[in-house]
């Protein structure tokens, strides 16, 4: 694949007569010390603090006061919270399959014997380097019902042209659309994994008379399934946390503001951000954060459970 190989050289194996040296232990811990501190200070610590905060009321200025499960019970009566879950779930359900299938198909198109690969790669990848703030600004035009380039051909062909960002039912699909635009990373990752499948496999299959479709389902798909799986996990985790595009298009710091017509763009993160940094309800926002975290963790766990059924790992592959 790339010039950076990820195959490990012979690892220093512990032999029986070799004991862990004191010098190596000291330096080992010294070298990883910053990372270990970071792990505690910015990952594990905050996760626990966040859980604790979710049982309190805390505006940062005054001391946190314990209020038990009140934040959680209030959440379940909060219409906006329920709305934000609906919006986010709608997004996840549309985006995750769309993103994976779209990126994989584009990668398939680019793989194999093809001329001008670096030009194609660049064309499809460039949108991904556009900062998400700018991307959202650009798509406000792109999805404009009258002036946008998306609706124009639809109207010419006499097809129904949605009002995109102006129509509550189409806001989530619009945000999906914007996210799909910057899908270049997944395309590159899939492309590398598809190109990494040894040619000899296909040659052998051709000798056996397998057609293109059979080659795809019995060689390409299984051999890239571990990458698909990893991308699936990452996409799921990220799609629950959509923020920037929704914030740029519909967000506002003003109290009581609405996120798009009928709050149709009230993504979970947007509502949480508003609670924490707009209303200073840090306990409430932490309860939101924890519920999201639990949801994502359970989903990830379920996905990991299913992987034996469809993810193929080569024998002897060192899975770290």
């Amino acid at each position: 694949m790339a010039s950076i190989s990820t195959t490990p050289a012979a690892q220093p194996r512990l032999k029986i007569w070799q004991r862990l040296s004191f010098e190596e232990t000291v330096f080992g811990w010294l070298f990883i010390l910053p990372a270990v501190l970071g792990l505690i200070l910015f990952q594990l610590g905050p996760v626990l603090v966040s859980m604790g905060l979710s049982f309190t009321e805390y505006d940062i200025i005054n001391r946190p006061t314990w209020n038990g499960l009140e934040n959680y019970t209030r959440l379940f009566q909060d219409d906006l919270w329920i709305k934000s879950i609906q919006v986010t779930l709608k997004y996840v359900v549309i985006y995750v399959p769309a993103a994976l299938i779209f990126a994989y198909l584009v990668a398939l198109l680019m793989s194999g014997r093809i001329r001008g690969i670096s030009a194609w790669r660049t064309m499809w990848y460039l949108p991904s380097i556009v900062p998400s703030v700018a991307a959202a600004a650009v798509w406000r035009w792109g999805l404009h019902p009258e002036f946008g380039p998306i609706n124009f051909p639809l109207k010419v062909l006499g097809l129904p042209a949605p009002r995109w960002l102006a129509d509550p039912d189409w806001i989530v699909p619009s945000i999906v659309f914007i996210s799909l635009w910057s899908l270049g990373n997944s395309v590159l990752i899939f492309l590398a994994s598809i190109t990494g499948v040894p040619r000899s496999f296909y040659e052998a299959a051709e000798v056996d008379g397998a057609g293109i479709w059979r080659q795809f389902t019995t060689i390409t798909l299984p051999l890239t399934s571990s990458i698909i799986f990893f991308q699936l996990i990452i996409t799921v985790i990220n799609s629950f946390q959509v923020f920037t595009s929704a914030f740029i298009l519909f967000g506002s710091n003003a109290a009581g503001s609405v996120a798009g017509p009928g709050n149709a763009a009230l993504f979970y993160m947007l509502y949480m951000y508003r609670n924490a940094f707009g209303y200073f309800r840090n306990g409430y926002a932490s309860a939101m954060a924890w519920l999201l975290f639990l949801t994502v963790a359970i989903l990830t766990f379920i996905l990991f459970k299913t992987q034996n059924r469809w993810v193929y790992y080569e024998a002897g592959d060192d899975n770290e």
Partner: protein, 271 residues
């Protein structure tokens, strides 16, 4: 078959690039010619003055400097601290190493949402809100993906080189600085590019921590130019600042295309 394939690639590619061109072209328009149909690809009037006037309207220079400053120090921090950790994980043997490493790697799957508020509280207690520290300091404590990528690379460096230096009496820090780091240049370039782009484009964290206009990054400036923030139609200036933000990344991409792509691909290989 192949014709269809090229057709989709060309057609789709052009579609992907259209908004990109519109962004740049709109930065030379007046507000009145931005939302028109058909779109003006070559603006008329062609207002190159936008790029001068924007400096009077909003503190572009200041925001550029702020963005450069944060990006640079955050990226240096993450590369240095991650390289150190990666060396420890790749080359030194000690109890608890593999457990710590898998714990560290599993945080890739930890949503930022759940750590965001406690970290904010910690930094606001330290009086760091409205300073660049919250955007720089955490990066000096390593990044799991960077550590993973560098560790993979360090493991491919022949052990003999290190052994030879040991025999010459070099200490571990010396081996790290004078043997490992110089040999790991390609991997360092790749991870540096990822870090630079990540920090350059960051939005949520600057939004949370930087409230004073003079501390704004370019991303925050774009945000502040939205009409419902400024009350004026500054869409053309928004496009100017967005273009200013995109161009350095674009240059980086064309200068180091190989390393750029390699980096992205490596982040996708196993977790």
């Amino acid at each position: 078959m192949n014709v269809i394939r090229y057709a989709i690639l060309v057609g789709g590619g052009i579609l992907m690039l259209t908004p990109f061109f519109w962004l740049v072209s709109s930065s030379f328009k007046t507000p009145a010619t931005i939302y028109v149909f058909p779109p003006q690809w070559i603006p008329d009037p062609f207002r190159w003055q936008n790029y001068v006037e924007v400096f009077d309207a909003v503190p572009v220079l200041r925001a550029s400097w702020n963005t450069v400053y944060i990006t640079l120090f955050a990226s240096i921090g993450v590369i240095l601290s991650s390289a150190m950790a990666a060396y420890g994980f790749a080359r030194l043997r000690f109890r608890g190493r593999d457990l710590t490493f898998s714990l560290l790697l599993s945080t890739v799957m930890l949503p930022y949402v759940v750590t965001m508020i406690p970290i904010f509280i910690m930094f606001s207690r330290l009086g760091w809100v409205d300073s660049f520290k919250p955007l720089i300091v955490p990066h000096w404590f390593g990044g799991p993906i960077t550590i993973f990528m560098l560790r993979q690379f360090f493991r491919t460096i022949p052990l003999e080189l290190e052994a030879a230096a040991r025999i010459d009496g070099a200490s571990r820090p010396r081996i790290f600085a004078q043997v490992i780091i110089p040999l790991a240049r390609p991997a360092l370039v790749v991870t540096s590019i990822l870090a630079l782009v990540f920090n350059w484009n960051g939005f949520l964290e600057p939004l949370i921590y930087l409230r004073k206009t003079k501390l704004y990054t370019l991303a925050l400036l774009v945000n502040s130019l939205r009409e419902f923030e400024s009350g004026l139609d500054w869409t053309h200036y928004m496009m100017v600042v967005s273009t200013i933000m995109v161009v350095p990344v674009l240059i980086l991409y064309f200068l180091a295309q190989r390393a750029f792509i390699e980096g992205i691909v490596l982040t996708g290989l196993k977790g």
